[in-house]
């Protein structure tokens, strides 16, 4: 796994200039927008998850994934490495964006606690990491292009379903909201457990897809 991880870090390093421009862009936006402290939170976390997905395109280039499977790395290890790389890169970018957001908040609103940024920041991390991990089995099954398209389709359907549910059951949503506020800690634990269960399911499906795949 170490070798595959080094390969992906080298690919990331070779795109370093591009990512430096993106970070600078995030800083400029945050400086220009006086009230937006969480911009870096979703922007950098989203880009980190996108880069993890782009490593599949680099691997797939000219059937390179098949070549990687001739090296001392089995299919399960390949999937494990991609998940770990995604966790490290997305998690790392999220931490950097938390720091950036906190620094901007402390400069602009010295009296406000940086902890107030945590709920939206955790929200960004959960959404983008879940999208990333859900995309991995689809990319392994359908290839980078069709996998990404499939993911966009899934997001679209989920959004439409949410809109439909909120419109038809507005009262129930309000009631659920008040229950959520009353039992925040319990629901937070349930959310974390569900989050981890979804990641584990994505990982297992990815391993199964990869082990069945032929090159």
């Amino acid at each position: 796994m170490k070798g595959l991880m080094i390969k992906d870090w080298k690919l990331l390093k070779n795109q370093g200039r591009f990512y430096a421009v993106i970070v600078i862009f995030a800083l400029i936006i945050m400086i220009a927008n006086e009230s937006g402290y969480t911009f870096a939170g979703y922007y950098l976390t989203f880009l980190a998850s996108l880069f993890t997905l782009s490593t599949f395109s680099y691997d797939e280039e000219n059937g390179g994934t098949g070549f990687l499977m001739t090296l001392p790395a089995d299919r399960k290890t390949y999937v494990k490495e991609k998940f770990l790389f995604g966790i490290l890169l997305t998690g790392g970018s999220w931490l950097v964006s938390c720091l950036l957001s906190a620094v901007f908040l402390m400069i602009r609103k010295p009296g406000e606690s940086p902890l107030s940024l945590m709920p939206p920041m955790f929200g960004f991390l959960a959404v983008f990491s879940l999208l990333l991990f859900a995309a991995i089995p689809m990319i392994l099954r359908f290839g980078p292009e069709r996998g990404r398209l499939g993911l966009v389709g899934v997001i679209g359907i989920a959004t439409l379903l949410l809109i439909a549910v909120s419109r038809t059951a507005g009262g129930a949503a309000e009631a659920l909201g008040s229950v959520l506020t009353r039992y925040t800690a319990i629901f937070a634990v349930i959310a974390v457990v569900l989050y981890l269960a979804v990641i584990l399911a994505c990982y297992r499906i990815s391993v199964r897809v990869m082990e069945k795949r032929e090159f």
Binding site: N62, T70, P72
Partner: protein, 283 residues
């Protein structure tokens, strides 16, 4: 036996591979045949990239699909058109190979890259076809593998580079306990390198022969229709109609030279064998 395909089958919509072959220790075995014959499918089956629908594909005594990372350290592979991402440089892949292969010969690998004119810091995507081919072979032989599985390793190389690569492969075989399974469109490469070869066409093995036997005993008879009518066809493998009469492939050149001195006999080559076995009919 380092590689064994035993009645291995792979079925696609319009193609079916059904073959048995073996690569013995200390042997360089060639797999030859026209485009679309099933060579690449056989290579991929051996490397565990496609799974047999029936039969058995084993490498180093284990089913090809269950080779561990540790087992794979003993195998070096070249597949046409694939390799490390073009966005990496040779210097980038050094730590990758070093962490994957305990026996990676870094110093020698770098020395050979320089010797073959491969820049260490240039992105692989900027390499010429020949440079990419050289890098793939150098990578495959960089970690003291016991077995090399090389599908078209000399594709895209000029005569000099091809010769250099073939010399490297001969040098690789020096310890005596290593083996190579190789395919190439350039039959002269295989004639000078392989101990034995399999001829494959339409997904089936048509012939397995030692290269020395091919070069010493095989021949192509060129004869008129009259000569063909009176010919003893017991040792004729394939016959082909020609404008002047018939050509026929035999594995007993000496017999026909002694008994039919009036018939023109050409020494057998891999190209002749491929042409006659694929295009010729039964005698």
């Amino acid at each position: 036996m380092l590689v064994r395909l035993h009645e291995a089958e792979k079925r696609y919509d319009s193609f079916c591979l059904q073959c048995s072959l073996e690569v013995r220790e200390g042997y360089v075995t060639g797999l030859i045949g026209p485009n679309g014959a099933g060579k690449s499918t056989a290579f991929k089956m051996i490397l565990g990239l496609v799974y047999p629908d029936a039969g058995e594909a084993s490498v180093l005594g284990k089913p090809a699909r269950s080779l561990t990372a540790f087992d794979k350290e003993a195998v070096g592979a070249v597949l046409p058109g694939t390799g490390f991402s073009g966005y990496l440089s040779v210097r980038d892949i050094l730590p990758v190979l070093k962490s994957m292969y305990r026996d990676f010969q870094e110093e020698e690998f770098v020395k050979r890259c320089e010797q073959f004119g491969l820049p260490l810091d240039k992105k692989i995507k900027e390499f010429s076809t020949g440079m990419k081919a050289k890098l793939k072979v150098l990578t495959a032989i960089s970690h003291k593998a016991k077995l090399l599985v090389l599908d078209e390793p000399t594709a895209g190389l000029d005569v000099i580079a091809r010769d250099q690569i073939l010399d490297l492969l001969r040098e690789y075989m020096m310890p005596g306990d290593r083996s190579i399974l190789v395919s190439s469109h350039i039959s002269s490469d295989l004639e000078g390198l392989c101990d034995d070869f399999y001829l494959i066409d339409g997904g089936k093995i048509l012939l397995h022969e030692e290269t020395d036997v091919l070069l010493e005993s095989y021949g192509v008879l060129k004869m008129t229709e009259e000569q063909y009518r009176t010919l003893d066809r017991e040792w004729i493998l394939k016959v082909k109609k020609e404008p002047y009469g018939y050509s026929a492939l035999t594995g007993q050149r000496q017999y026909y030279m002694e008994n039919y001195p009036e018939i023109t006999m050409e020494k057998g080559s891999m190209d002749d064998v491929i042409m006659m076995m694929v295009q010729g009919g039964q005698a």
